[in-house]
Amino acid sequence: MAIAVPHPPGGHIDTHSDHIHPAPRTFIGKYIFSLDAKVIGVQYMIAGLLFFCISGLLAEVVRIQLMRPEGGFVSNDTYNGVYTLHASGMIWMTIIPLVTGGFGNYVMPLMIGARDVAFPWLNLVSFWIFPPAGLMLFGSFLIGAPDAGWTEYPPVSVQGPPGTSLWCAAIFLIGISSTMTGLNFMVTIMKMRAPGMTFTRMPLFVWAQLATALLNMVATVALSAALAALFMERQFGVPFYDPGRGGSPILWQHMFWFYSHPAVYIMILPAFGFISEILPTFARKPIFGYKMIAFSSIAIALLGFTVWAHHMFTSGMAPWMQLPFMILTMIIAVPTGLKVFGWTATLWGGKIEYHPAMLFALGFIVVFTLGGVTGIFLSSVPVDLHWHGTYAVVAHIHYVLFGGSIFGVFAAVYYWWPKITGRMMSNKLGVLHFWLTFVSFNATFLPMHWLGLMGMPRRVAQYSDTTPLLINQFTIVNQFISISSFVLAASTLVLLYNMAHSLIAGKKAPPNPWNARTLEWQISSPPPYYNFKKIPAVLKNPYEFGEPLPYLGLDPSDKDDHHPSPTDHPTPAHA
């Protein structure tokens, strides 16, 4: 049967199997300085998981300190360093590397039917900047950790401890890594899709990575410039931000948020992508409103550049500037709402399986919606004048970053684990992990809204003096939050145990345990070194359950159940 395969836009990809590079044979070439996007992805995941655990433990130090209104567990200076590194570590060393470098590298090339990313050497450099940057960040404890929060507003960050300069350097480095990854993914997605994979046949995770790559490429340089200026001010006394010498502290805020607001979308868009893959698979239904969900990612990314000053309503901008930023921020609610409603409608009429990945995806919709709703409050100038800088903001960011990005990452871990490791995880432990996490997450962060609105500012090592009338309620609520957060931390141990158990004694995974339809599931678990011996042709988008798979020319030997090592399958170059 002859089926016309549309030519891929802009690319000439040989559907035959000529250019397969031989697999590396040394340990270092295979696992350390590998050029394979899959290995680099796993490296990102391992490093990200390590930094996730460190940053998470720092959060527990914060919670122990706040169990008593007068603090006292650690000194003020240590406390200030601890929460600064908790946030910096979670944002720059955990979430961004996991959702772009980790899952982006592993899954995206497989999904578009590519053998690797466009620039493997650049990818290698991107990754190898990341662990040293992480070590520099957490190493700043040794010389006096930065203390002004992850936003490091000058002038206080200019007076900050010596570690603040190390913080600048670490974030500068990870910024370079992000920019390069963004560029790499952008070119990969634009140029290396399998024949027939038009834009509207791309899996939604690839759409999300495309929008994220755009943000990473364009926004991160603003942060790099701001960091370089802060570093120069601290080390060489160049007065960028010192108002006494003609600088402006507000300048930093503009530069910082011009990056850091899009960074919020860098962290959440890939999670949207995870959810958009997992829901159809476990509901056995096409995603509802594919185009709406795909294009709204791009809309969110573009609008994301126009709203940064909503973080600065109290900072002293000209009042007339507040209005456009307020209204543009509110407009973002519309494309975000489209996604949420689309996901909800995807569930309707499904055959929903309560797999841990699906449970985390459902939990994601619920908690992320709450985080999105509080985002509208913060976007309204008059309400923000009360909310800004309080624990209500802490609650909001944890609902979108933990409830959003980290729930997304957990879902993705359960979803792609068999593909990556070739082993199954325990579903029972996964379900336990979900319920522990979901309940303790809400118990931890929901009461923080109340705390903030009643008068508890963020970034305080003590709260005994802030609202003397409410101190009893504040103490009880803070203790409740702290105990919930210990359960939340413990719930992660269930995941770690599940991972370890699966690696040691897990059942071998078939190529496609969930009957999913995207390309990565059509080859063995884990995939062969070359991903696809023959690049398949794509006939349709991957969400048509009940139809035959829309791929032509998949080589059956890519799907062998015994894990083919490259030597088992001599490439044409060897043959």
């Binding site: 929060g149 502290p249 307020m326």
Partner: protein, 369 residues
């Protein structure tokens, strides 16, 4: 081949309309509850914009709550009703629909309309904030690591960590900072503005509830950020005036009055060489070392005032010597930036007679040239 669509007669699935109707009723009830909720009982509304801001907050809470509950309940309800049952074939699939343009249009239009309504409401409250009356009492609040300084028009010296405002009087607090960014937040007023060095912002409100409240710093400002707060008293006008009078008396008596008549310029010249000349020249204002030159203190037409904004008379010069100087507060730039800070009398080790001698010397400099 897997089974395809459910029969049309199945409609929206079991229980869809009952769930929707119950949800709508619950949301209306919760909306009414939120709208009539008395926030004042839990966190007092102690000044004029607080009521406005709470009204907007409640409006948004009612809408936000409805959206959140609809999404949550539909997710849970769909997940239960449309779950995979043990009786389902292994290759059973869901209803293969891809979209419903009318539905999608509605859930674009409705949120857009809600966003527009929220935006209009927000802009209206925002306009009220911009046009709020103030200025009957204009005072200054200056953030320092880690204390609040308050200046009143009728008081010569600043008051620290305690501010008083009269009830039912429009107040403007001009906030700024001497070092790093702080923030001025009174939860009961619902207003918060950052105290940014080199920038003055106006906080306008009309207190309407007598009581004692906290001013809290909400922008991280250093090691002891958590201990930076002040107390705001909203007083009856009588109490307020009494407090101002008491402060004025306290300040007049504190440290003993300096008898300026008895100073001698010659003794002042020796003192100046020992204590002042490392930072001040006796040339014109522009001849700065750290601080400005003091040779034409009383006769400089381009700088008619002292750096504190006070008149260059003997009494006000002595005030600078007593209090020291906290850094540039002349935000209009008349005296130029970068004036440095000057320690107070205790740090400089100046007795009353030292101050009198210095004033006599500085006065004589201006007169002799």
């Amino acid at each position: 081949m897997a089974q395809v669509a459910a029969p049309r007669s199945q409609g929206l699935g079991p229980g869809f309309w009952p769930v929707t109707i119950v949800m709508t009723v619950v949301n209306i009830i919760l909306g009414i509850y939120i709208a009539t909720f008395d926030i004042n009982k839990y966190l007092p509304e102690a000044a004029a914009p607080a009521g406005d801001i709470d009204l907007l907050f409640k409006f948004m809470a009612a809408i936000g709550n409805a959206i959140f509950l609809y999404v949550t309940v539909y997710v849970v309800y769909f997940a239960i009703v449309w779950r995979r049952r043990p009786s389902d074939a292994p290759d059973a699939i869901g209803i293969q629909i891809h979209d419903a343009p009318t539905l999608e249009l509605w859930w674009t239009i409705i949120p857009s309309v809600l966003v527009i309504i929220i935006a209009i409401f927000s802009v209206k409250i925002w306009m009220n904030l911009q046009n709020a009356s103030g200025d009957v009492l204009t005072m200054e609040a200056i953030g320092h690591q880690f204390k609040f300084e308050f200046r009143y028009p009728n008081l010569k010296s600043s008051v620290y960590d305690e501010m008083h405002v009269p009830v039912d009087t429009p107040v403007t607090v001009q906030v700024t900072s001497s070092d790093v960014i702080h923030s001025f937040w009174v939860p009961e007023v619902r207003l918060k503005y950052d105290m940014v060095p080199g920038l003055v912002q106006s906080v306008r409100f009309t207190p309407n509830r007598i009581g004692k409240y906290r001013v809290i710093c909400t922008e991280f400002c250093g090691t002891n950020h958590a201990n930076m707060f002040a107390t705001m008293y909203i007083d009856s006008p009588q109490d307020f005036n009494r407090w101002i009078a008491a402060q004025a008396k306290l300040q007049a008596s504190s440290g003993g009055a300096v008898a300026l008549q008895g100073g001698t310029a010659a003794a002042g010249q020796t003192l100046f060489a020992n204590k002042c000349s490392s930072c001040h020249s006796v040339g014109p204002f522009e001849q700065k070392i750290v601080g400005p030159g003091l040779g034409k203190l009383l006769s400089d037409t381009t700088h008619p005032n002292l750096v504190t904004g006070e008149k260059p008379n003997a009494v006000d010069i002595s005030h600078v010597l007593i209090k020291g100087y906290q850094g540039p507060d002349d935000s209009q730039g008349k005296n130029g930036p970068s004036l440095g800070a000057m320690p107070n009398r205790d740090a400089n080790g100046l007795s009353n007679s030292d101050i009198a001698n210095l004033v006599a010397y500085l006065t004589s400099l201006s007169q002799s040239k």
